[in-house]
């Protein structure tokens, strides 16, 4: 079987407790190359806990996260040594935080924010790093004249686009996103969504995107998990789940959205 015929990520019965409460219980799914999966649900439904477990930042109490590596077959990410896991996070995986401040280094320039991730995987040639940083600034629609400015001087939307560039510069295969459009104005959101759609298609990225915004997943996600009280109550093709929801909770969620 070639790698294309296998899921990139296989999640088996993932469970994580906080005290006696299961923040996330018995979640299983496969994520395929090029597939964008949305995780929706209200605050406290466990979607962020799930994302943290998936992205190697929170060890689950039970279950496995199996990753199809480029060259070394399938690994359980929690069986890796800490250094190996960190390398994976810096190369094959990306993580886009809701608040760009959590994903950027605010004290160094925009160019350095992008270049830093390349240097972490061994790039040393200054000219090449700067060229890559410039190219990525262009792709995320940030004016090149801002390359030496610190992200502090950027608007929220620009910071978010910079965070995305920083993640994508190492050509990751999976990107985890936590409410990436969360704190942004509606017009800025639309631009960011448009950019993400384009990048996901061009780079054939696999994405897990957590959001409470159903309009965001309708535009971006191929399929959905709907979570409630730590459990997946419904899963399937995005437009089918949104247009013909089966579970009472999903019906409530969909019918509660205000039409603009």
């Amino acid at each position: 079987m070639s790698a294309v015929d296998q899921p990139l990520l296989r999640v088996e019965s993932l469970t994580r407790y906080f005290g006696a409460r299961a923040a996330c219980r018995d979640v299983s799914f496969d994520l395929w190359p090029g597939e964008v999966m949305g995780v929706v649900g209200e605050s406290g439904s466990g979607k962020t806990t799930l994302l943290n477990c998936l992205s190697a930042r929170l060890r689950p109490d039970a279950g496995r996260v199996l990753y199809q590596t480029r060259h070394e077959g399938v690994v359980d990410i929690y069986d890796l040594r800490e250094a190996e896991r960190r390398l994976l996070m810096r190369t094959d995986w990306g993580l886009v935080h809701q608040n760009p401040r959590d994903g950027l280094r605010m004290g160094v320039s925009a160019g350095a924010n992008i270049g830093e991730r390349l240097m972490a995987v061994g790039a040393r040639h200054y000219g090449e790093i700067r060229d890559a940083a410039s190219a990525w600034l262009g792709r995320v629609e940030i004016d090149l004249s801002r390359i030496d400015d610190r992200p502090r001087a950027f608007s929220g939307g620009m910071q978010q686009r910079l965070q995305i560039a920083r993640n994508l510069v190492t050509a990751p295969r999976i990107v985890f996103m936590d409410e990436p459009t969360g704190g942004l104005d509606v017009s800025v959101q639309a631009r960011l969504l448009d950019l993400l759609r384009e990048l996901v298609r061009e780079l054939h990225l696999s994405v897990v995107i957590v959001t409470h915004d159903l309009a965001v997943v309708r535009l971006l996600a191929h399929r959905l998990l709907v979570m409630r009280q730590g459990e997946v109550v419904e899963a399937g093709l995005t437009d089918q789940v949104l247009d013909d929801p089966q579970h009472p909770y999903t019906q409530l969620l969909v019918s509660s959205v205000l039409q603009a």
Binding site: A190, D194, L219, H222, G236, D244, Q246, P248, L252
Partner: protein
């Protein structure tokens, strides 16, 4: 006779409205339908009988409760009633197109891009996709000055023509059409009729809802009656 393109067997659909006291609405049951390549079937029946629901179920936009929706796809068959999301999306990318009544506009994305997208999804280069999209929009009399604009502000008829262009450009083997001419004037209705006849000659199997009797007579080979469902006592 041409080969089968679409075969529906024992299809059943009911809606359960959990937020409205658990009301159940049964739409159809034991529905069978077979459509051959090059054939155009018009769904028929009174308003509310489930024509659009059936069309959406064929596209897997609605879930079904029983039965199969077999689609000739990639040298084999795919069952839209049961397939995994990525398999359904692959059918939609390469085999089955759907022209809904209303265009779901994407903020900021210009008309030309919306029309070109089905080609881009199949890996056709931007330049060729855009030039084919432009030709299709021109054929449907969408003025060139609108191509670079997002269709949110277009008239109903213009939006529908963008939608039709998007649906027809990919030359899918199966097309689902939900009232494709509802908001169009006579000249544009004629263009759509031509497009449909052209696709039929190329072997596309078409299932549609056509309220316009003239169009229906012109493009459809037969009617498929959705019998009003009687709720069992």
């Amino acid at each position: 006779m041409n080969e089968l393109a679409l075969e529906v067997g024992g299809l059943a659909k009911r809606f359960r409205l959990h937020t409205q006291g658990g009301v159940e609405i049964e739409v159809f049951r034991d529905l069978d339908l077979a459509v051959r390549a090059g054939e155009c079937v018009a769904l028929h029946g009174p308003s509310g009988c489930g024509k659009s629901t059936l069309l959406r179920a064929l596209y897997a936009n609605y879930a079904v409760d029983a039965g199969s929706i077999r689609v000739r796809h990639a040298k084999g068959w795919a069952d839209m009633a049961r397939a995994e999301p990525r398999a359904i999306l692959d059918v939609r990318r390469r085999t089955m197109g759907y022209v809904s009544q209303f265009l779901r506009v994407i903020p900021r994305v210009p008309a030309l891009e919306i029309v070109a997208e089905p080609l881009r999804q199949r890996g056709i280069a931007a330049e060729e996709a855009h030039s084919r999209a432009g030709a299709m929009l021109a054929r449907l009399n969408v003025p060139e000055r609108l191509w670079g604009l997002a269709p949110a502000t277009f008239s109903g008829g213009e939006q529908q023509r963008v939608n039709i262009a998007r649906g027809f450009i990919a030359e899918m083997p199966i097309l689902l059409l939900d009232e494709p001419t509802a908001a169009l004037d006579a000249a544009n209705r004629a263009v759509v009729a031509d497009l449909i006849l052209e696709r039929k000659r190329a072997g596309t199997a078409i299932v549609g809802i056509f309220h316009d009797a003239e169009i229906r007579a012109q493009v459809c080979d037969r009617l498929f009656e959705i019998a009003p469902f009687k709720v069992a006592a």
